[in-house]
């Protein structure tokens, strides 16, 4: 393992100490030590998160915002503390942080609540060619229902958003611009502050899918300029089943509820139902309480490591991976060149070998990667491939693991023929 002395920003603990916080990294797969390079799908969980969830279930478990007994008060306090941690992480107020199931639900909340109130026939919505289906399908459904139109902002040959083309689409006066902060396939980091200025100048709101950015980048909502921003806990070293939507307060105040049920009402009578204040208005039903509390712990853990150092570590590892992967014959890498504008994601296609076969052979080497269309079929069509193989890095990954990825790829090449 090489030291990371070349990074300007260093982590507060050694990579060995950080790895020791993740029990699963000691696992064997097919008789090899696990090299987990599928962090874009979900990240592994540190002990701090595992123990927080375990402690909640053992000690504090109760429903929130209901009982006037000790456990319920504890659970409520911990749940609302998690919201404050998230609000502070995002530079937002607690009224602007809605707990949801995942980033997909966060984006659907905006599409159903804001979208169905504000989007009319012949309105336009801009999405990009690099979007995950979760930031396409809700807008497609909305457009179908309302008779609105989707415009696709193209990417350039290196996998960056074509901002000139976006500017042209903005001249058509769209209501919304929907864009990923970090592409889950290309690793491209989109210039959100600039896109926000462009969208706002054109009178559009900006919806950002931050699912991949959450574990990598500092997220200051004022600086980014997003009107809505979606994150999911499980990619940020937290549990599955919980995510968060940031929405600007004046927008959320005007929006109707999304899911009707318990917790989200002020008063229910036979004649009239009125809505709870923010954020409860958007949190119908019992939430994933322990998971939200553990999400808060994951964010605290990430903030303690420091996201600039996490990002710098991943950028360095990604640069190493891009350099080494060039040694593999007949392999095409997608996305921008190595550097600060590329998050820790490396997607590639091997000539004559399907992504699933690459992934299966890597698995025999103990190396876990993702293969498939990555829920980004429009991007696959743009890249002209049915599927790609993707290695995606987290703060605990090492050069040694990248070396094992390369060995596995060379073995794949041998099996399928040079």
């Amino acid at each position: 393992m090489e030291p990371t002395a070349t990074t300007a920003l260093s982590l507060p603990r050694s990579i060995e100490e950080i790895r020791a916080e993740f029990p699963i990294l000691a696992r064997q797969v097919h008789g090899q030590q696990l090299a987990y390079l599928d962090n874009g799908a979900t990240a592994q969980k540190p002990l701090a998160v595992i123990e927080t969830l375990d402690r909640y279930l053992r000690v504090h478990n109760a429903n929130v915002h209901r009982g006037v007994h000790t456990l319920s008060e504890e659970a409520t306090a911990l749940f609302e503390e998690a919201r404050l941690i998230m609000a502070s992480h995002l530079g937002a107020s607690r009224h602007e942080v809605i707990f949801v199931r995942n980033a997909t639900e966060a984006l659907n909340l905006v599409a159903y609540s804001w979208g169905r109130t504000n989007v009319k026939a012949r309105d336009r919505i801009v999405v990009t060619e690099m979007e995950h289906h979760s930031n396409v399908v809700p807008w497609y459904q909305l457009a179908q229902e309302k008779g609105a139109d989707l415009d696709w902002a193209p990417i350039d040959g290196e996998g960056r958003l074509d901002l000139d083309a976006l500017a042209s689409l903005l001249e058509r006066g769209p209501k919304l611009v929907c864009v990923a902060h970090v592409s889950n396939v290309l690793g491209t980091i989109n210039p959100i502050p600039e896109i926000a200025r462009m969208a706002h100048d054109a009178g559009a709101l900006l919806v950002v899918d931050g699912a991949q950015a959450g574990p990598k980048l500092e997220l200051d909502m004022a600086e980014l300029g997003a009107d809505f921003y979606a994150v999911t806990a499980h990619k940020m070293y937290g549990p599955t089943g919980v995510g968060a939507l940031f929405g600007r307060r004046e927008l959320l105040e005007e929006m109707p509820p999304f899911i009707g049920g318990g917790s989200m009402i002020r008063k229910v009578s036979k004649e009239l139902i009125t809505w709870a204040d923010l954020p409860a208005k958007f949190e119908g039903g019992t939430p994933a309480i322990g998971e939200a509390i553990a999400f808060g712990e994951a964010v605290r853990w990430l903030d303690e490591l420091g996201l600039p150092a996490v990002h710098a570590t991943e950028v360095e590892l990604t640069s190493y991976a891009l350099e080494r992967i060039a040694e593999v014959p007949r392999l095409t890498v997608f996305g921008p060149p190595a550097g600060d504008e590329r998050g820790g994601i490396v997607s590639f296609a091997m000539d004559g070998v399907h992504a699933h076969d690459v992934s299966e052979i890597l698995d025999r080497h103990g190396v876990a990667v993702r293969a498939g269309h990555h829920c980004a079929q429009v991007l696959m069509q743009r890249l002209g491939v049915p599927a790609t193989t993707r290695a995606s890095f987290a703060v605990y990954n090492t050069r040694d693991e990248v070396d094992r990825l390369i060995e596995g790829l060379l073995d794949t090449r041998r099996i399928f023929g040079e």
Binding site: V353, H354, D357, E360, F416
Partner: protein
Amino acid sequence: MDELYRDQILEHYKRPHHFGRPDDYDLEFEDSNPFCGDEQHVFLSLDEDGRVREVGFEGQGCAISTAATSLLTDELEGMTREEILGLPKEFVLDLLGIDISATRMKCAMLGLKVVKGASLGEPADWEDEGEQGDPAEAASL
């Protein structure tokens, strides 16, 4: 590497039998595997007795799906539509002769599903393979 990528499978993947669209055909069907995006398009021509005279297929897929369909097409000539519709999944697994994991079962079965669709002229009744594997394997860790 284990037997999954043994020579016979790789040979059928690299040089699939009956690959290509015949000049004329009586039946055709196309389907894809949403899990991985594999696509296959099968063409069948029948003789006057209603038996398969010629078969061809096109598409893109992984080693398992391509080899499975290539092996299957070797067996279809002379079969009636009813005989094709009666083929069990085990027929394809026996042709492959290797263990197929739960996640790769959809790959192995795509060709059979498409061939049955061509025989019927519409999507065949198909019990989804799901992705359920053996939970005992995970529980034993």
